[in-house]
Symmetry: D3
Subunit: 122 residues, 6 copies
């Protein structure tokens, strides 16, 4: 497994709940997009749909102005699916050691033009 | 368990990938918001953070113009956390029998003003 | 008349004006989507466009963290149009009795492929 | 009455329903923001909340790539409220005569720090 | 040169960084849309792509509740391109003299159906 | 100069104009956020505002489903400002050699609590 890709996101007002911490949903939407990118970059010309989310855990909350660093990549490729691992670190605007905030795995299934599962390695 | 709450969403252009099917991320962002609402409606005055996503499975893809119906509610309440079950049906614009498209469970943890876990039933 | 459908929305930072209260526009955009859903769910295979907004009144302001509950449904169906009634309640995060915040009626016209009005009951 | 202010908006993919025409909700959200701007520009230092929408009528549908031109301004000022008139024209990307698409009036109420109605002319 | 068009925007929570001032990106996204509108309104039936941003300078920061007034128009038209000038003023909610906040020029290139540059005046 | 940071973005329906190509504004909004992240990650505890955009050129259009790869980093640091270089590549979903699509420089100014320029290296 290697987390080949990197992504950044700034925590803005629109990502916060009324207590001032990051909504989990903002992260969940992002990991789905990253999983799609990892699969398509690794297997160009293939179409992938989200199949499941595994082991998604939020370990530390993020706040306004925090910079999120995502590291992600293909963890495992099966016959008709791929597992994408996503790990997220928080870098606070004030500096200091980054904190592990979230990790999880997105299972993407490779589908043909009719939406039916098909081999990743055609 | 009872899925006491209902929610609706229309699949729009902005929710689609380039093959015309709904991004999983749009659903994942939504279930997080619904889980937050279910917990706060059930336990007013309590603050909840997303802790994990369990058993999230996408069973059938949705397309432009489909109407998504979410049914959700508290599945189980522990000492410092609550499990929210979310099930999603697709109603096609053309009519016909609704299709089960997604289900999963969001684990929300009840936190105090310092972000530390605290009892749901104070 | 029966308000058959229910919808939820959490008031987030992005919905607020600089005085901290909910923009009316966020509600107006939502009721249009709900009116579309009510018509299409009730009359599958029909295409509807927004024709007018009637009696839309904001009765009490909402604030950050409030949970909005929409109840909506077909109020009346004419030859080529349908009236959708939408009522909105505020549930405060702190609990307490819900407050009636908004109600109004959206007139949707049923149109054919050329955008011309056509009979709802074909 | 004079429609002193002008505003533009391009119809993009995200504003369309599955039949390719503009959602009314996109217009309704916009007129609320414009009403707020008209009141605050005309009566600086005053806080306004949306009170009602009057006579909002959609007269012609807009499509992808159309350019919307809004003309808006204070129509009437009462003791504690102001009526903002908004008219919307469609300019098609291909050119041709602009088409009247929407008009309506937003009633804004002037409120004090407690959200209570107060005189516009203090 | 004449800045024929006017546009308005209210600074909302979602446009702010963690220090409470407007993100430049919100302005940059807006001037691109305005440049597209200015070109298409002036040369209907022509397709334009963004080619470059020139002399874009942020002169004074904007804050929550400020009302942004954009004045924009075609500055110069070349053989296959057009320069759109955009100037932005801040009107504070409290009133007072408007402040010049941003100005810049967007170069738009006129393209044919294959994305190749073509004459503006066909 | 080194472009230390990497970022990804998928071109979705909401980023397209009516001819199906990516709006420049979506890229411009993104480079501003990336410039902010580059400065804050490199100089933690400092506040930066966008001052200008230099040499921003769009070299090749992107389309639906393209994956954008941004490489960015501090190009130069002055007394009270930093120049952030951003380069963008297109990876098509079908595969093939990536294409240089955009590059430019964002000038960020380091400001104190009053919004006045201050030394980057305090």
């Amino acid at each position: 497994m290697s987390l080949d890709f990197q992504h950044h996101m700034l925590v803005r007002q629109e990502h916060l709940n009324q207590y001032g911490s990051l909504f989990g949903g903002a992260v969940l939407a992002m990991i789905d997009e990253l999983a799609f990118i990892a699969c398509t970059r690794t297997y160009p010309g293939r179409n992938f749909l989200t199949r499941a989310v595994l082991d998604a855990e939020f370990r530390a909350p993020a706040y306004l102005g925090d910079m999120l660093e995502f590291n992600f990549g293909i963890e495992h490729t099966g016959k008709t699916s791929a597992h994408v691992r996503v790990e997220m670190l928080i870098h606070e605007a004030e500096g200091g050691k980054p904190v592990r905030s979230f990790d999880g795995t997105v299972v993407m299934v490779c589908v043909d033009a009719h939406g039916e599962p098909t081999r990743v390695h055609g």
